[in-house]
């Protein structure tokens, strides 16, 4: 089974690049997301998380 799979994998040029690239890309995304969060500004986050509560409906009885 493995031999059978190895055959067509090795026949792709530069296939060993794939797992490496996958890992690098994943790591980049993860680090970027973490950086993003760590460096974010507290006031802006506060504003963002309050957004669902500022729906500006004039009839306040609907959204107490």
């Amino acid at each position: 089974m493995l031999k059978f799979i190895k055959h067509h994998l090795t026949s792709i040029e530069g296939v060993d690049l794939f797992p490496l690239l996958a890992f690098v890309i994943f790591l980049t995304v993860f680090i970027a997301a973490s950086l993003l969060v760590l460096t974010s500004d507290r006031r802006r986050i506060k504003h963002l998380e309050e957004l669902p509560f500022s729906d500006t409906t004039t009839d306040r009885t609907l959204h107490p």
């Binding site: 997301a33 969060v37 460096t39 963002l48 509560f53 500006t56 004039t58 609907l62």
Partner: protein, 710 residues
């Protein structure tokens, strides 16, 4: 510069009512199918047989129930988060009626047996095109709203909506490449291993981006609203978003462990599935911890109860999923009812309960009144929860039991349960209990219908809700020390592009190598295209939804090679447009069924399965003995296959029916030896031809059979 405008509640209400109606319908179909599995006589007609109802159930609950639920929630929350009415009322209604028409088209075409034979993508090509168009309408309407918003920042819920839209568009288009044969029939562009990979890349990510990300967006809006406090950690939600959409897309191949899919792709699927636990649980905790300091309210508020159980079920399902993606658990769970239990924890718990909570929260607000009965909502909650337990627990036992029975050997090395049916009858009790669970769940939903109806009757739909907000300044200097993430945070189009790039990377890495292989898959020389009669038989197999209960994938376990024969090779499926590996074995695997029984066995068995296999739960297919083979379609089918690269000789399409008749006559002759008189033009003959061909290509020397016409 305060602007006055109106939120469109009428469209929200329309989608919400459609959610409820199609929810009930979808559950009812599911319940019927559940009972058909224990009472085969419930397969009362051709178009009501299990193989056709099961796709109807899955399509109805996913695309009609959850789909409309998504739209209702998005149309409500997006307007408020953007502080703007939907971009265009016309587009809203085109979207609404277009989607309902698609559902109706599905509800008619699936029972008629018009299907592509690819799970969760069964709808035929004209409907596929309609879905694409309506999805684009939804996209224009959503982005139009975002662009004319009065709030500069995009709340995280909107990110999830954007990612949902772009990814579903990509998945649907890539997976739906097909060559039309006629108005209602097409063949998948891909074959065998490639088709399987694309299909499960799609199937897995349909779960991810249709059942998960939009609902997470809804969670980030409705949970804080219902709990009346902001989300536990907004920062966590940012990581949750990027990590989830990026990792999810890679995990598809875990549906194909131990199959003929290349090993590296299987491993990739496993690794990313396990990584997926982190963002999934991050999201779950973020949702649950939003209730910090408000847990006492869960006792009184049925809405919060629904949300808590929904999010908990999400957590359970997303822990279980990665576990099932490891080869160890997968070797036990795959093809059994464990999978069914797993998806229903997600479906009934996460999607169902979240939708119910959303309905109870929205209806009183849309109708400017109070919920008719909190008591009934509580009753719904408890009956529904009991329903989930009664649904899932017996099926976990069933899956585990059956899998162990499949694998049990005597000390001498023989299978203990040689007859597959023994393992099915052992778990019949669980199928009954599952039916009970489904009944409870549906009962709860019906209580909700009554409650909603009384609530709506007591109030009046506030079609347009007055609102006001300051207009957005055109030229915005920004807080001078701008944060780089704002480049994306305030720009929906960038968000769309980055999301697309992120999800596309996973797709490209998974799909491209497998497609590069295409040119040098060691095509097994003895694997030949199907004969015209076999091809017709295969289409009958697809039409009847045989793949909903039978796999065509013998995995490389001794327990399987012992039971079924040689394990399945990638090269054997190169002419399978679409692949029919299946995902569940309610009946035995069929990949090596060719030549296992005489033609007459199949003839009797399809007419009345219990005649050959006492106690069988399989439906009977008497209509195959009345309907003639649709020979008029043969040339078109051969031509379509040639377009797809199946090497039929030039001009074969026009003489295919001659070969078809010859092979049919040979089968009729073989049946006659067993004292069966039949007509070579009937569909059963084609189906027998196909079944007898299955898996025989790589046999060193095909056993002498009358059916081996080629």
């Amino acid at each position: 510069m305060i602007e006055r405008f109106k939120y469109d509640n009428k469209i929200v209400n329309a989608f919400l009512m459609a959610t409820i109606i199609f929810g009930i319908v979808g559950m009812l179909v599911g319940l019927t199918a559940a009972f058909q599995m224990v009472i085969p006589s419930w397969n009362i007609a051709e178009w009501l047989s299990f193989g056709r109802l099961r796709p109807l159930h899955t399509n109805a609950v996913i695309f009609a129930f959850v789909g409309n639920g998504i739209f209702a929630g998005v149309y409500y929350s997006l307007q408020r988060l953007a502080k703007a009415r939907m971009f265009s009322d016309l587009l809203s209604w085109v979207h609404f009626w277009g989607w309902q028409l698609i559902i109706v088209a599905a509800a008619i075409s699936l029972p008629l047996g018009l299907t592509t034979g690819k799970e969760y993508a069964e709808l035929e090509w004209p409907i596929d095109i309609a879905i694409t168009l309506i999805w684009v309408v939804f996209g224009i309407n959503m982005f139009g709203t975002i662009l004319k918003r009065r709030e500069r920042h995009l709340y995280v819920a909107i990110w999830f909506y954007i990612a949902t839209w772009v990814t579903v568009a990509m998945l649907h288009i890539v997976n739906s490449f097909e060559v039309p044969v006629s108005l209602f029939k097409s063949y998948s562009w891909y074959a065998g291993v490639q088709d399987a990979l694309v299909q499960w890349w799609y199937g897995h990510n349909a779960v991810a981006f249709f059942l998960t990300t939009p609902y997470l967006g809804l969670m980030y809006y409705f949970m804080p609203k219902a709990a009346n406090r902001p989300v536990y950690s907004y920062k966590l939600s940012i990581i949750h978003f990027w990590a989830l959409i990026f990792i999810y897309i890679w995990a598809g191949p875990h549906h194909l462990l131990y199959s003929s899919l290349p090993d590296w792709a299987q491993s990739l699927g496993t690794v990313f599935s396990i990584m997926l636990i982190a963002p999934s649980w991050g999201g779950m905790l973020n949702g649950l911890l939003t209730l910090r300091g408000a847990w006492d309210r869960v006792r009184e508020d049925p809405i919060l109860k629904f949300f808590v159980v929904a999010i908990t079920c999400y957590g359970m399902a997303t822990l279980e999923g990665p576990l099932l993606s490891t080869k160890f658990f997968n070797s036990i769970s795959h093809f059994t009812d464990w999978t069914i239990a797993h998806v229903h924890v997600g479906g009934l718990g996460w999607n169902g309960f979240f939708t119910f909570g959303m309905v109870y929260w929205l209806v009183p607000r849309l109708f400017g009144t109070k919920l008719y009965s909190k008591g009934l909502a509580n009753a719904h909650f408890w009956i529904g929860t009991l329903g989930i337990v009664f649904y899932a627990v017996p099926l976990y036992f069933a899956g585990f039991t059956q899998s162990l029975m499949w694998k049990q050997f005597t000390p001498d090395g023989y299978l203990v349960y040689k007859n597959f049916l023994d393992t099915v009858l052992q778990i019949k009790y669980a199928y009954w209990l599952r039916g009970l669970g489904g009944t409870l769940y549906l009962t709860g939903a019906l209580i909700m219908v009554y409650n909603v109806w009384r609530t709506a009757a007591a109030g009046r739909l506030i079609k347009d809700e007055e609102a006001e907000a300051p207009a957005l300044e055109k030229e915005y200097a920004g807080e001078s020390a701008g944060h780089w993430h704002r480049w994306i945070e305030r720009r929906p189009i960038q968000m769309l592009v980055v999301s697309l790039v992120l999800v596309a990377i996973g797709g490209v890495f998974e799909l491209v190598p497998t497609f590069l292989i295409k040119s040098n898959v060691p095509t097994i020389a003895s694997v030949k295209p199907y004969t015209p009669l076999e091809l017709q038989g295969r289409d009958i197999y697809i039409r009847e939804g045989c793949y909903t209960c039978h796999s065509q994938m013998v995995r490389p376990f001794r327990s399987e090679t012992e039971r079924y024969g040689e394990y399945s090779k990638a090269g054997e499926f190169v002419y399978d447009h679409p692949f029919q590996w299946g995902s569940k074995r309610t009946g035995p695997d069929l990949h090596r069924v060719g030549g296992k029984y005489p033609d007459s066995w199949h003839y009797y068995h399809m007419f009345d399965p219990t005649s050959m296999s006492a106690g069988s739960l399989m439906p009977a297919y008497p209509w195959l003995y009345e309907k003639p083979i649709d020979v008029a379609s043969t040339p078109a089918k051969i031509r379509a296959m040639q377009t797809l690269g199946v090497p039929y000789p030039e001009g074969y399409a026009d003489q295919a029916n001659t070969d078809l008749s010859a092979q049919a006559d040979a089968i009729v002759a073989s049946l006659k030896k067993d004292k069966i008189e039949t007509n070579p033009e009937l569909e059963i003959v084609a189906l027998i031809a196909y079944l007898q061909r299955l898996g025989t290509d790589i046999r060193p020397k095909a056993p002498a059979q009358a059916t081996a016409a080629k």
